[in-house]
Symmetry: C2
Subunit: 182 residues, 2 copies
DNA sequence: ACACAACTGTTGAATAATAAACAGTTGTAT
DNA sequence: ATACAACTGTTTATTATTCAACAGTTGTGT
């Protein structure tokens, strides 16, 4: 992509997020965003359809960042690791205030779905055709586990992170081991 | 000036100064500057003739900043004030490492002349036609004082700021008062 | 002496951002 | 009710930056 587009999108999104920290979405005007980003107002419309599209792109970029930060741990080993869980908790922790802002505007569901899907990808997949003793690792169990993990993530986040990322990861990992899934 | 030109010049100069901190002028290539500034190499040539022109513009911008920071104290009262002296010392202190780099490349003389001239502007001017008792405030005395002040500034800077801006300002101001110039 | 890599400064075509306008909308105060 | 100010989203011509290529230079090692 053209360097100018990259830069424009970046500074506009940064300015917008900065404003989101200061006031709620509906109180933010395109004029303000343009002023804060120090770009022409038209430039915003060249890159984003409107304020809500801009918000979507910010969320997407934010989620991409989470995935990217965890992808070494997740993708290299082609399965869920303790490390990737820890990184996810740490990501949620370090972006807490910003994510709260996003969830106010857009709800938790988008993020939850993304994280759930990513966990599904990370869990080991086994054919349904395998023996019945492996039923625990079937599609159903994958969904079961992904939901469980996502649920813990959500609970931890929504309750303002009642314990450290390290502690919650330890506990969750122990549960997974006890269920003989990993 | 067009917003894009402003931005380009700013980020190119900042990147260049950043590189000047890391290595000497002759070891810095236009490629590196472009890379650090995250602009196309051609953009540098659209804004600056070459590396040396870029250096000149950086110095000019830096000096403009000094003047601007002191101009309230200097220009509003149309004469030299203790405050403007203090601000000058503080400016030299806070930009010490960067100014050292500049002086390595370009020498002290440019800066000295600018500061000298600015002090001349700040000193009160009296007609040569006034009574002989006012000879102390003639053109000669103006040059005398400006050189003295500039000399102290230079000594203080070249000797790596042997005392605080506040202390050197106090001492210099006392000298000026004892000479009944202010 | 030669090759080779990195650099300089320039070009032209494509693309993006800017400035300045515009009509239409919304919210607010009088 | 109405005027007013601020906003939205779009359009136009203009200007700046980008990208890719170019020939020519400089410095380095073999």
């Amino acid at each position: 992509m053209d360097k100018r587009k990259q830069k424009s999108r970046k500074i506009i999104m940064e300015a917008f997020i900065e404003l989101l920290r200061e006031k709620e979405l509906e109180k933010i005007s395109m004029n303000e965003i343009a002023e804060k980003a120090n770009v022409n107002r038209g430039t915003i419309y060249l890159n984003f359809a409107d304020k809500y599209d801009l918000l979507d792109k910010c969320i997407e970029a934010n989620f991409s960042q989470l995935i990217e930060e965890c992808q070494n741990a997740i993708n290299d080993k082609k399965s869920l690791t303790k490390e990737s869980l820890l990184m996810t908790f740490r990501y949620l922790e370090s972006h807490f205030d910003f994510l709260c802002i996003l969830f106010q505007s857009v709800g938790l569901s988008v993020f939850k779905k993304c994280i759930h899907d990513e966990i599904v990808k990370g869990l080991p997949h086994y054919d349904q055709s395998e023996s019945l003793t492996n039923v625990i690792r079937s599609e159903v169990s994958t969904q079961f586990l992904a939901s469980a993990i996502t649920g813990v993530l959500e609970w931890w986040f929504v309750n303002s992170m009642p314990c450290s990322p390290d502690k919650i990861t330890d506990e969750l990992w122990l549960l997974l081991q006890n269920n003989r899934v990993i």
